[in-house]
């Protein structure tokens, strides 16, 4: 299981990146993150919503109420222009961290 600090820090870039693929909603976001990480990256379900609301307050995403296929009420989120910019920044920063780590790891095996 991944440490909770890393889970918290990765929430925003993951949400932004998932929403970049198209409109989505809380439950689907959680399921997709879980599936893509083979269940290793797990959020407490309720904790996702404060993050989504914070991102909405910051103008990174926007929401609308809609209906599911079964007619159930569902809140959908979409990426905004500022969200795309924030996502690009996140990608840049995480790539940097990844390349530094990869470089250090490689040096250990040389």
């Amino acid at each position: 299981m991944i440490r909770k600090e890393l889970v918290a820090a990765s929430a925003e870039p993951l949400i932004l990146s998932l929403l970049a693929k198209g409109e989505s909603y809380g439950y689907a976001i959680i399921q997709e993150v879980k599936a893509r990480s083979d269940g290793k990256l797990q959020w407490t379900d309720g904790m996702l919503y404060p993050v989504l609301h914070r991102m909405e307050h910051r103008g990174l995403i926007k929401s609308r109420w809609g209906e599911s296929e079964t007619g159930r009420k569902r809140k959908y989120y979409t990426l905004k222009k500022d969200g795309k910019t924030a996502m690009a920044k996140h990608h840049e920063q995480w790539s940097l961290v990844h390349s530094v780590l990869a470089g250090l790891k490689k040096e250990q095996y040389v």
């Binding site: 407490t44 993050v51 609301h53 914070r54």
Partner: protein, 214 residues
């Protein structure tokens, strides 16, 4: 006998009691809870177990309340953007008002031209300070100096206006029309001085934020 609707209603009451607001965000949390229960039941779980697990996965109400409280207000970047829009609004209204006065009042050609020049100078100065000069502004590391800059920004405009009214104007022999135009020119520093010192303050604050969080 387990009743799902009754259990969800009880869960809602507990959430409200803990301070979770309704309809936002409680309706969204309930929607998630129902989605989770439905998915679990599709996979063969019974209603009662599915409900218990979904509630556990949602997390305790007091933790949710604390997180939503944190998410509630606008952050610094948003306040900064709102401040920028408010300032642009004030500047735009001021420029339109002066232009309107210059064209609707009986103003001599020379004074009208000078008044318009003051409006253009104000707009151009603010644009240059806002868009071009920040890259040349220093980054102030000291919090005290930054706060002083913010204070100076706040009082420099009105301060200059007081100097103009009490020390410069009494020494000038001008007509009423010339006085009006002189006031328009006096307004240029009133808008430009606080903008400059606010932007130095803002650049330093942002730099400090980046240093602390990167």
């Amino acid at each position: 006998m387990f009743n799902l609707e009754q259990s969800i209603a009880d869960w809602r009451r507990q959430m409200i009691a803990a301070g979770i607001q309704t309809p936002v965000p409680l309706d969204e949390l309930e929607s998630h809870l129902r989605e989770d229960i439905a998915q679990q039941m599709k996979s063969g779980s019974d209603e009662q177990k599915a409900f218990a697990l979904a509630v556990a996965k949602m997390g305790p109400a007091f933790t949710l309340k604390r997180e939503f409280k944190r998410a509630g207000g606008p952050d610094k970047a948003q306040l900064r953007r709102r401040g920028g829009f408010a300032f642009a609004g004030v500047l735009g209204s001021y420029s339109l008002a002066i232009t309107w006065l210059l064209f609707t009042k009986d103003v001599a050609y020379k004074e009208r031209l000078s008044g318009l020049a003051s409006v253009v100078t104000t707009l151009l100065s603010v644009y240059v300070i806002w868009k071009i000069l920040p890259r040349f502004f220093p980054v102030v590391a000291s919090k005290t100096v930054r706060s002083s800059l913010g204070l100076i920004g706040g009082i420099s405009g009105p301060g200059w206006l007081l100097v103009f009214i009490y020390f410069i104007l009494p020494r000038c022999d001008v007509t009423l029309e010339q006085l009006r135009v002189a006031i328009y020119w006096a307004m240029v520093p009133v808008l430009v001085l606080p903008t400059s010192s606010f932007l130095i303050f803002d650049k330093s604050e942002k730099q400090q934020f980046t240093t602390t969080h990167s």
